[in-house]
């Protein structure tokens, strides 16, 4: 094992240890309300401010320049390439969730894009009817009945939860780039980060326009989006109107329960 791999392994162990400690904190929560999931809010807000400052000062301007300089087809190719590399993790989680048909379709998609699509640069599989899926280990744990635990805002990685952050391990180990030397890894990771930020420019601009409290906005949007993904875009409708029956929403006059 090279010293770089040892370093990465140590980082993972430290990360997992941190998650275990946070999972312990998470057991104190008693409500399903998203705000109550945020048991680490003071620390999360600090990391959020750090990330936002770093993003505004450095990452976002670089991403904007990248969008101006790189033609659309180049950016699409780069996005396809990194999505394809990460797809082994999608396949694993298809199978872990018992979605066998989807798993077979995703294996075919990965093989097609890796070969005909020249290493994943071109997404030819979609036009062949092999649609893209979004699965990760956090979703698998949710399907297995594991609670999401506390909401986490991680430095550099952004919004997450105790349960969802466990995806860090399989997604890293199943990414072929994990096994190559750091001389190639660092510039490739930098390109991946800038490309990912560029793809999020529109979403982040919408958030900046709409949010009056960007931290709460990000947390709510993340946690709701995760529910949406866990249920493959069809979350149970039974919880949709719970907000109209919530105790703290009712002023006691019965006005919210209009019959």
């Amino acid at each position: 094992m090279t010293s770089f791999q040892c370093y990465k392994m140590l980082k993972q162990i430290a990360f997992l240890a941190m998650l275990c400690i946070m999972a312990g904190c998470a057991t104190t929560q008693t409500s399903d309300n998203y705000a109550n999931k945020d048991t680490l809010e003071p620390a999360n807000r600090v990391f959020f401010d750090v990330n936002e400052t770093l993003d505004q000062a450095l990452i976002k301007p670089i991403a904007e320049v990248y969008v101006d300089v790189a033609p659309n087809f180049i950016r699409t190719g780069i996005t396809n390439f990194f999505n394809n590399l990460a797809y082994l993790n999608v396949i694993l989680n298809d199978l872990l969730q018992g979605k066998l048909n989807q798993g077979v379709s995703d294996i075919a998609r990965f093989v097609t894009n890796s070969t005909i699509g020249i290493g994943g640069l071109f997404d030819v599989a979609t036009s062949m009817g092999l649609e893209e899926h979004d699965e990760d280990f956090g979703q698998t744990l949710a399907v297995w009945g594991v609670d999401e635990g506390s909401y986490l805002y991680l430095p550099l990685f952004g919004p997450n939860s105790v349960r969802d952050s466990t995806d860090f391990v399989p997604s890293t180990l199943l990414n072929p780039f994990y096994y190559i030397s750091s001389a190639i890894l660092f510039p490739v990771t930098a390109i991946k980060a800038v490309n990912k930020r560029a793809n999020l420019l529109e979403a982040s601009n919408i958030r900046d326009e709409a949010a009056v409290d960007p931290y709460s906005f990000t947390r709510e949007a993340y946690l709701q989006q995760r529910e949406y993904l866990i249920h493959d875009g069809s979350p149970p409708v039974s919880g949709y109107d719970d907000v109209f029956s919530a105790d703290d929403a009712d002023d006691g006059s019965g006005l919210l329960k209009i019959e």
Binding site: V212, F217, E220, A221, L255
Partner: protein, 210 residues
Amino acid sequence: MLLEKKYYSFLTKNILCLCLIFFAFPLHADQSQKQRLQEPINQLHETLINIMVISDSTNFEERYKYLEPIISEYFDINLISRVVLSRYWKTIEEKDKIKFTDLFKKLTISTYVSRFNSYNNQIFKKISVERLKENRFLVKTEFRKLEGSPITFNYIVQKNNQKWRIISVIANGINDLSLKRAEYAAIIKKDGFDVLVTKLEQKIRDSQTN
């Protein structure tokens, strides 16, 4: 004998009629209710497509005025305002409740006008209608563009004072009401209601200039 035959024929016809009314009326009533509860969404979608189509030839203010009657008519802004402010609703004075409700309506209109600002053959497509708890329905729709995945727009509608109105919008699984509720609660808790009002006024001004 003839009279008896006529009597039985009359009776059979009436029973048949009654059966038809008995079975067909609820079906018709159900269909009719479904149509009525979708009316707010139909009107909103039609107007949003129109404001996108006219976006190049009109300014923000003109499109705002065009959309305003639809939002006033088909969104239950009073109810939404109460739910959005959650427990803080009863802690503010009556004049502030009126002020907030008005501000929230302006914010809703401004947000729609600034987001739906260009037309490129987008369409809204209705997917399904599902019953939620009593008196509420979920209308599932999609906003389809020429490129990219469609955006799901789901609406919760509720009947209030004999009129169906939208009380919540859920875009790609993200409930706008819950989002705002969490944000506003965080600001009121930290800085107070007046700061929230100031921030909302700023957001409305920003959406006009963006």
